[in-house]
């Protein structure tokens, strides 16, 4: 009897209607600000401090880069203004920063190569574009040949040969990064699969390569490529001075890529392999159609991190005497005819903006890619 009064039976016959949330939990900007920025006096103080700091930093940056900057005029205007950036300097050096010492009369070849490259890359990366297989074919097969013919030149086609010692600036940076990116991913995949192979020799070779390359600074790899490669191969087989660091950068990033891909491979459940095997699918098809598409999707953020790292590492080729974009800035900034108080700052600011622009672009693209792929197969 007492039991009955302590635990009265619950019988609920009416369906309770859904109600709107009360005002203080209703989603909206005011609720969000209250909850995330001013929830306690301490967090309110922090919010105010950081807003002030951000405003001050932004003000400093804008006043140097835009408000107090010199936009027109020449060296005299820049020398007279110690407060802001000297953009006419960049304007005058712009061609040098893009092409290095590439002969002026032949620079249209670089422009053409870069224009074709841009079109093909956009076509390839734009997921809704038609006939992307054709784009891939053109980019990976036709474009390298075209780029070689255009940039280096073939006398037979009335394109004078431009020695690679004359190449420089952004041309080198882009060339290095694109070749690095295009080669490091497939090489990395092969190394990662090799590292997980059941065949002891394959595994040993891959593990040794990965661990040796990762255990050595990039500069060492560059020096080895530059100075030791010619010692091992006969003169007529020695790769061009630009090709040596290219090979180095592709091999170097492929070792890092291999570990990134391996992380993705390890995230794939055993059941996926078993289901594929049970259907009689061969190892090659299983990897290509089932395992790698899933594994690579998982590690897109790390792959892009590696690409971004590679892009910035290309600045190190200056050490073996290749005039990349940053080296071009260096050269331009010490030009005695442009001696001004803010020339160096302007040069570095511009370099920073250019590098940041490329890296940020890669980062944003990878994020949109991730969202698309996730939307693809999660409910």
């Amino acid at each position: 009897m007492t039991d009955q009064s302590l635990h009265p039976p619950i019988v609920n016959l009416a369906l309770m209607p859904a109600m709107a949330p009360p005002a203080d939990v209703r989603p909206g900007p005011v609720t969000w600000i209250k909850r995330n920025l001013f929830s306690t006096p301490f967090s309110a103080a922090l919010t105010i401090c950081f807003v002030l700091l951000a405003v001050w930093l932004l003000h400093q940056f804008l006043s140097f880069a835009i408000l107090k900057a010199v936009w027109s005029g020449g060296r005299e205007a820049c020398s007279a203004n110690p407060e802001g950036a000297c953009w006419p300097f960049i304007a005058e050096k712009f061609d040098y920063l893009r092409y290095g010492a590439y002969p002026i009369s032949e620079r249209w070849r670089v422009d053409l190569t870069q224009a074709i490259g841009t079109i093909l890359i956009v076509w390839l990366l734009w997921t809704k574009a038609p006939r992307r297989k054709l784009a891939a074919m053109l980019f990976f097969v036709f474009y390298p040949i075209a780029a070689f013919v255009l940039l280096r030149g073939v006398a037979l086609l009335h394109l004078p040969v431009i020695d690679t010692t004359l190449w420089g600036g952004l041309l080198i940076t882009l060339l290095m990064s694109i070749v690095g990116i295009v080669f490091s991913l497939p090489l990395g995949v092969i190394l990662a699969l090799g590292r997980r192979s059941d065949l002891p020799m394959v595994k040993a070779v891959c593990v040794t390569f990965i661990e040796v390359v990762r255990g050595v600074p990039f500069i060492t790899v560059l020096f080895m490529a530059n100075f030791m490669m010619p010692l091992f191969v006969p003169d007529y087989l020695t790769p061009d001075r630009l090709l040596r660091p290219l090979i180095a950068i592709a091999l170097f990033s492929s070792a890092y890529m291999a570990e990134v891909v391996r992380a993705g491979l390890q995230a794939i459940p055993k059941g996926q392999y078993e289901a594929a095997k049970a259907l009689g699918i061969s190892y090659f098809d299983m990897m290509r159609l089932i395992v790698l598409p899933q594994a690579l999707t998982i590690v897109i953020p790390s792959i892009v991190s590696t690409f971004i790292g590679l892009f910035k590492d290309t600045t190190l080729v200056a050490i073996v005497g290749i005039a990349d974009f940053l080296k071009a800035i260096e050269t331009a900034r010490v030009d005695p005819s442009w001696a001004g108080p803010t020339i160096s700052s302007t040069g570095y600011l511009f370099a920073g903006l250019v590098y940041w622009g490329f890296c940020f672009g890669m980062s944003r693209y990878s994020q949109s890619m991730e969202r698309q792929l996730v939307r693809g197969h999660k409910s």
Binding site: P269, G271, Q272, E274, A275, A276, K277, A278, L279, G280, I281, S282, D285, L289, I290, P293, Q294, T297, L373, G376, H377, K378, S379
Partner: protein
């Protein structure tokens, strides 16, 4: 009345008459003896239900049949072809043996239709149009035709398992292996998967099914194989097995699961 149970060593009367034959199969995981002298012969068209306590080697045994596990001694002959003699022939054996897993193992990055088309296109080298027609036919048979364009993650467990069955059937297998196909399902979804399996059994498919669904065993099995600690303890018709099992171990097992 009870037919010959664990088949002793004997030559198959004709290759096509015996779908799966295991002769003195032994398997060790490290030093753990997982399968002990397994002898089992499954004639074409027979439905065999394999049951037993967990860790008794049921899954290991059927996984040996399509060589997801390798065995260390004895012979396994599937559709007249020995397994594990020639590693290159394994894919051929596998493409004729369908398998359905406890956790479905659908490919999450492909739609249900693409899951079903993958093996016919890449293993059987079937044209895409024909493969799609085949896939739609089997998706219709397991009654999820309307989910063809969905991704596995958007399906319920029961629907995923039926899609997995359709995917296996698309290879036109001669034998189907089921490894606890309903164990990972919510109770209300077990029936839809079992119904699919019952209808498959009705069409004369050779089936080896590891399951705890004794109702299914009673309804469709020609033979129930009871395993414990890596050996086949008893194999009999369902009627005999459930009504008067000979071994103490089987009686204990039945007492535990049927209450």
């Amino acid at each position: 009345m009870p037919q010959a149970v664990c088949t002793p060593r004997r030559e198959a009367p004709g290759e096509s008459a015996v779908a799966v034959e295991l002769r003195d199969v032994n398997k060790w995981f490290g030093s753990f003896h997982a399968l002990k002298n397994i002898n089992l012969s499954v004639p074409r068209g027979q439905r065999v239900v394999i049951c037993g306590p967990s860790g008794s080697g049921k899954s290991t045994m059927i996984r040996c049949i399509n060589h997801l596990e390798d065995h260390q001694s004895g012979e396994i002959i599937v559709n007249g072809k020995p397994v594990a003699q020639d590693l290159r022939k394994i894919d051929e054996v596998r493409s004729n043996v369908g398998m359905v897993f406890q956790h479905f193992n659908l490919f999450p990055h492909l739609t249900v239709l693409e899951n079903c088309m993958l093996a016919p296109v890449w293993v059987r080298k079937m044209p895409r149009m024909a493969a799609e027609e085949l896939a739609r036919h089997y998706l219709d048979r397991v009654r999820i035709a309307e989910k063809a364009a969905s991704y596995p993650g958007q399906l319920s467990g029961g629907q995923q398992q039926r899609a997995a069955i359709a995917r296996a059937l698309c290879m036109n297998p001669k034998i189907m292996l089921f490894d606890e196909p309903t164990s990972a399902l919510d109770p209300e979804m077990v029936k839809e998967v079992l119904d699919t399996m019952v209808s498959l059994a009705g069409e004369g498919m050779t089936m080896l099914c590891v399951t705890h669904e004794m109702g299914f065993a009673r309804e469709v099995a020609d033979r129930v194989v009871f395993m414990d600690r890596g050996e086949i303890v008893e194999a009999n018709t369902p009627h005999e097995f459930f009504a008067n099992s000979r071994s103490e171990r089987a009686r204990q097992f039945l007492a535990q699961i049927l209450t």
